[in-house]
């Protein structure tokens, strides 16, 4: 009787573990398959011309240079606004704020910013930056919109990283005659840098891949030239992929896969860099 019972327990454990393992792999295998599939399908269309030429013939031929450059501009523009603001807000939450109703409100606000649908950011950007502030459909308006969307990612990862710096470092630094800001700048930020960097890159990765927030704030269907100022609209990789896969009839499938591949490489290389920085910092950490 007792033996059967034990047997059953271990049998059910084996079945359970197998089921869970299968589920995990059913989640992960398609991710890998997706990436490999796009790599294989897209690779043949990658050439120097594809990366460095303008599209022509209604975008059915030529390259995707303006989209690549446009995404670069948007990513850099997003970084200019969101990185300093995000890190400063994280410093506030980790180093200055005590547990007051105001701080709790800030935290709830950040959680909500993280949850707002991307298309709603697009509406907001249209309402505030494009129309009210009269920036027009432009790189500036799109970057600002993406910045606010990116902010919660940067704030929460940076705050976590700052908090993981041992409290004793702060006490010692203060006891040696440092002000709070000197302590932050010379010790805390330096130690938290890898984690902050990881968060920044993950946030920008998100911005680089987004379409909905730039749909009505800065994305151009087709531009025969590169944008000349922050007040120009721009092409961008994700929007371009959307356009050529849904809006242009008789679009050669090769160009579609090629564009998807370039976008994927752009975004995934950021992801890999972030993962690399994080694992290296963890390995080197001595406290």
């Amino acid at each position: 009787m007792k033996r059967i019972f034990t047997l059953n327990r271990h049998l059910s454990q084996r079945i359970g573990f197998t089921a869970i393992t299968l589920m995990a792999f059913a989640t992960v295998v398609p991710i890998v398959a997706t990436i490999i599939y796009i790599l294989i399908q897209g690779a043949p269309s990658i050439s120097l011309e594809f990366l460095t030429a303008y599209p022509y013939d209604g975008m059915r031929a030529g390259g995707i240079l303006p989209a690549i450059i446009g995404t670069l501009y948007l990513t850099v523009g997003t970084a200019i606004f969101s990185v300093p603001l995000g890190i400063a807000a994280a410093i506030y939450l980790s180093e200055y704020a005590s547990d007051t109703p105001l701080t709790r409100t800030i935290r709830i606000a950040i959680i909500n910013l993280a949850g707002i649908p991307s298309v709603v950011y697009g509406l907001f950007g249209l309402g505030l930056f494009v129309l009210f502030l009269n920036f027009g459909t432009s790189i500036l308006a799109a970057s600002l919109t993406l910045s606010i969307m990116t902010l919660p990612i940067i704030i929460s990862t940076a705050e976590e990283s700052l908090r993981s710096v041992p409290q004793a470092f702060r006490t010692v630094s203060i006891s040696l005659g440092a002000t709070r800001w000197q302590t932050i700048r010379r010790i805390v930020l330096k130690e938290a840098l890898p984690g902050i960097l990881t968060g920044v890159i993950l946030g920008l990765e998100r911005a680089a891949g987004e379409t909905a927030p730039i749909l009505f704030t800065g994305a151009a269907f087709f531009l025969p030239r590169l944008p000349g100022s922050p007040f120009d609209a721009t092409m961008a990789l994700p929007y371009h992929l959307f356009v050529i896969s849904t809006q242009v009839p008789e679009m050669p499938i090769q160009i579609q896969y090629g564009t998807a591949l370039v976008l994927l490489v752009f975004v995934l290389s950021m992801n890999l860099i972030a993962t690399f920085i994080r694992s290296r910092a963890r390995a080197r950490r001595q406290w």
Partner: protein
């Protein structure tokens, strides 16, 4: 020198504090602009029309009910996929997988979180929906089902990371206690670890669901965009249209300040309020759990 140091410290401190407060400002600004552009709807469109079942803006039919049901059916479908697979994966990563497998799986799941939604939508059009059309013998593969599957995939990373955090924070002594009483690892997972982490797992589910309601590009590309009322079970196999996709598809073509424009902002306002409700509920679960822990500890 001391004087200039004080001034610098003062200014920097002020800037840092202002940055912290800015999060509140942004949420308020977003809400303000949505209300400013969306609220005129109530003056321009009769409530009866707004809650109608017909969305056909060219002829001034602004019934948002089909859009809400479209969002709902896809979100439910996505939840049915993301919740079991997400929690299963989280349990596997946190409780079962050997260390080296975990080190590979975690970044891979994060990678999924980083895949742009257009890329998933693109593959949805070219691979998933043709497959569904042939496999299920449907007139078109661009259906709520295709949207649900891809949205499920998009929400999985959120569910996994939050649920895994929750499982990770269950003290090791709980598990050791259960093992010492003769429970198998499987029993420990079901009867001890998961129940102990339930508030975190609940948060994971809510945040995952919140993520799927707000997703835009993928659903716009793969769900066929037909604004029909989706209330039957079979609706999952037919094209639908979500609130997000409607805004994304139509905002580019409307005149600023027109009724259609205001209605699209009104839909944005509804989406904003839904995400606000979901996130506040999710975070209050966490807060409450923490308070309970504090009470036990003190």
């Amino acid at each position: 020198m001391e004087k200039s140091l004080n001034w610098r410290e003062f200014i920097i401190t002020r800037l840092i504090k202002a940055s912290g407060y800015s999060a509140i400002l942004f949420v308020a600004l977003i809400f303000f602009f949505l209300v400013r552009e969306g609220l005129p709807t109530l003056g321009e469109v009769e409530l009866k029309s707004l809650t109608g079942t017909r969305w056909y803006p060219i002829e001034d039919y602004f019934g948002i009910l089909p859009l809400i049901t479209g969002s709902l059916i896809i979100t439910i479908g996505a939840g049915l996929i993301a919740v079991p697979f997400g929690i299963g994966t989280a349990v596997y990563i946190s409780e079962i997988a050997p260390r080296w497998v975990r080190e590979i799986l975690k970044p891979l799941v994060e990678l999924l979180g980083g895949l742009p939604s257009v890329v998933l939508g693109f593959l949805g059009i070219l691979v998933l929906s043709p497959f569904l059309r042939v496999f299920l013998d449907l007139p078109t593969g661009l259906t709520a089902l295709a949207g649900s599957i891809l949205l499920g995939a998009i929400s999985v990373p959120t569910v996994v990371s939050v649920a895994e955090d929750a499982l990770d924070s269950v003290p090791r002594s709980y598990r050791e206690g259960a093992w010492a009483l003769g429970a198998t690892r499987w029993q420990t997972i079901w009867r001890v670890t998961l129940p102990a982490a339930r508030s975190g797992v609940l948060t994971a589910v809510m945040l995952g669901v919140g993520r799927s309601i707000g997703e835009t590009m993928t659903v716009m590309m793969v769900t066929g965009n037909a604004p029909v009322l989706a209330v039957k079970l079979g609706s999952i196999f037919s094209p639908v249209r979500t609130m997000t996709a409607t805004i994304a598809a139509e905002m580019g073509e409307v005149a600023n300040g027109s009724t259609h424009y205001h209605v699209l902002f009104f839909i944005g306002m509804v989406l904003f309020l839904i995400s606000l409700a979901v996130n506040i509920a999710a975070s209050s679960v966490v807060f409450r759990a923490r308070k309970r822990a504090e009470r036990i500890l003190s």
